[in-house]
Amino acid sequence: MSRILVIDDDSELCELLTDYLKPEGFEVTSVHDGEQGLQLAVSRAGDFDLIVLDIMLPGMNGFEVLQRLRSRFDTPVLMLTARDEEVDRIVGLEMGADDYLPKPFNPRELIARARAILRRTHDRNGKHGSGPAPETIVVGDIELDTGTRVVHRSGEQIDLTSAEFGLLEMLLRAAGRVVTREQLAEGVLGRSLTAYDRSVDVHLSSLRKKLGHKVGEIERIKTVRGAGYIYVNPAQPEKSGSDGDPADTILP
């Protein structure tokens, strides 16, 4: 049984969700206030596997809750956003949410994404004990440590969300080669992309912002039209482009 904390002011919605999610293996605790939600999340951090957080909360808004929560815990968070507000999605992801789902949503979609996040978290936690040995990947000015899950740029530590970290890891392992959006979605979000789904792009643009768009004169992460994305290998910047074959295996 996975335990989910739902923070949403729509109490009827919470009832319905509880009803729906139970047979799917999720035990739902719901709270209808941002302040309360934060308190609960913090005081019983170990009790929840996933937090579903509505961005549009009265009083303390969703972003504040997210920010305060993230400063102390890294419990996975799935944001519920308004359909039209792109900026909410980007800001939320930058602040540390793992994925987003615009309202109204199909609860099956919610389950799919929740499961993907949980799987990823489990994998991540699992790696500490029994996965492949942690390694440090160095490309240009970036140093990525898969053990501590910390990234440095020219010695300076950069704070990345779990999804951003996963994205960067995939790109760095395939530095100089193209990685398709589908591969990124599978590897990072644990699910396939639906049509017109911008999740990967949003994570990527926030990653770009955090790392810096350019390294000297060259673009750090290039968008290859019709193919995907590529982390430019500073040793061979000319090689990056349409001539690269999409990398086949990315993660071990």
Partner: protein
């Protein structure tokens, strides 16, 4: 002349210059206008008329040089007459020679019988003057570059003589000209300085005001005039204050409109969200008999959702509540992304979407709005194109005179649209064939959104039927010149 600064400057500068020139000319033309005898104009030297008679009065404002010359000539003449009468012609000629060398003037001396005592060739002017009845004083005549003066005097014997001199006009005019030129330069400099200051004083705050207005129009709702105009207390600073009040009101109006739209969106979508979850619960609980009805409910819920989204988008575009942040958008990249997604959707009906031709161009605009605009056209095309056909997209950068345009064409292989309805396609909720369109999905709002969004970017959109069948939708957007 576009610039206010230039207008004010030139107007006043030309005005002052004209005054200066007018005073210059009239100074030269008149001799004794009381105006010109004012002390502050004393440095204005008048040029004497080309010929005339000068009466030398003490304190008179005689033609400067000529008067002076006249005086000294008379004295020289009398001396000459003395020498002639006492010592004879040769002595006179010697004297005249020395005199000529000293002052650089040609001197003719005539006796009472109009016979030349000196030995110079006599020109017309000299001839004329010599015959002239000279009144007491000095007569003179200007001919081309020379001035001729004629003067009578009496020798010690009482006999009458005439002295005619020929001197270069330049000598007299030079001084006139030079001081007049100085005068003009002085006016020129003062005029320039004053005009510049005046023009700046008026045009500079106006262009500053314009800059703030432009910022407001471009979306910076916090743009205010405030202290930009500096400390002044005139109509222009009043204008600045009024502008700030207007901007304040605009900001609050737009703010409340945005909040309203956001609230509407929330209020509509909450029940929909609950509906969909309840639906899924029902689906799981009830048997296959209910499935048809449940599917229908799901479909209608999706339609409602799409409709709400589009309506709200349209409302935002219409009201201008959207603060559009504009930045350069890579159109080729955007099209590529959209085509990939549309192609994905098209596969359901065995159709394809592909880019037929593309070019590098940048449009200054809002990426999300542009995306919506083109996405709607694409999805429409995918919906209407016949099974097993393809939808092609092309992008071209064209220039029309001084400006560049990005031209996007989406062509499908569907039934096309009756000629009469082509213009109505972009009206909200317009549908061509009612029943069929509804079945294929679509809200009737997509193209209306496209039109509004494209217009907001200063572009235009239109639809034409292709010769071979199918519809071509063309979007033109102002592009950034490269």
């Amino acid at each position: 002349m576009r610039s206010l600064f230039v207008k004010i400057f030139v107007w006043f500068w030309v005005g002052m210059l004209l005054i200066g020139v007018a005073s210059f000319l009239s100074a030269m033309a008149t001799e004794s206008l009381p105006l010109f005898s004012m002390p502050w104009l004393r440095f204005l030297v008048r040029r004497p008329p080309d010929e005339g008679h000068l009466r030398l009065r003490p304190g008179s404002f005689a033609g400067h040089g000529i008067g002076m010359v006249g005086n000294s000539l008379r004295l020289s003449g009398q001396t000459g007459a003395e020498i002639y009468e006492r010592n004879g012609k040769t002595a006179l000629l010697d004297y005249v020679d020395n005199l000529e060398n000293a002052v650089g003037i040609e001197i003719f001396i005539f006796n009472g019988q109009k016979e030349q005592l000196t030995a110079h060739p006599v020109s017309e002017e000299v001839q004329e003057l010599s015959l002239h009845q000279i009144r007491a004083g000095l007569d003179y005549k200007r001919a081309g570059d020379w001035i001729f003066t004629a003067q009578r005097f009496t020798g010690p014997s009482g006999r009458r003589y005439m002295l005619i001199s020929r001197l270069p006009a330049r000598r007299f005019l030079q001084r006139d000209f030079r001081s007049q030129a100085m005068n003009l330069i002085f006016i020129f400099l003062t005029a320039s300085g004053l005009c510049y200051w005046l023009a700046r004083h008026i045009s500079s705050p106006i262009s500053k005001l314009g800059a703030v207005a432009r910022r407001l129009a471009d979306g910076d709702l916090k743009a205010r005039v405030g202290a930009v105009l500096g400390r002044r207390n005139d109509e222009i600073s009043d204008l600045g204050k009024d502008f700030d009040q207007m901007a304040e009101r605009m900001e609050s109006l737009i703010g409340s409109q945005k909040r309203l739209l956001r609230d509407i969106s929330h209020e509509f979508r909450s029940p929909l969200t609950r509906l969909i979850i309840a639906l899924e619960i029902a689906r799981r609980r009830d048997g296959p008999e209910a499935e048809n009805a449940l599917e229908r409910i799901e479909l209608e819920a999706e339609r409602l959702n799409a409709l709400i989204g589009k309506l709200l988008m349209l409302a935002r575009l219409e009201s201008g509540a959207d603060q559009i942040e504009k930045m350069p958008v890579d159109m080729a990249e955007l099209l590529e992304e959209l085509v990939v997604d549309a192609d994905f959707e098209a596969r359901e009906r065995n159709c394809k979407v592909r880019v037929a031709s593309t070019q590098n161009c940048l449009v200054n605009g809002n990426r999300e709005l542009l995306r919506s605009a083109i996405e709607n056209v694409l999805r429409n095309a995918v919906r209407h194109t016949a099974e097993n056909t393809e939808v092609t997209v092309s992008l071209q950068l064209a220039s029309d005179g001084g400006s560049a345009f990005a031209g996007i064409e989406v062509r499908d292989n569907g039934p096309g649209v009756p000629e009469a309805s082509l213009a109505d396609l972009f009206s909200p909720f317009y549908r061509v064939g009612d029943a069929r369109d509804r079945k294929q999905g679509g809200t009737g709002l997509g193209l209306a959104i496209t039109e509004r969004a494209v217009k907001l970017h200063g572009g235009r959109v239109r639809a034409v039927n292709a010769h071979e069948g199918g519809l071509i939708v063309k979007i033109d957007l102002p592009a950034i010149k490269q």
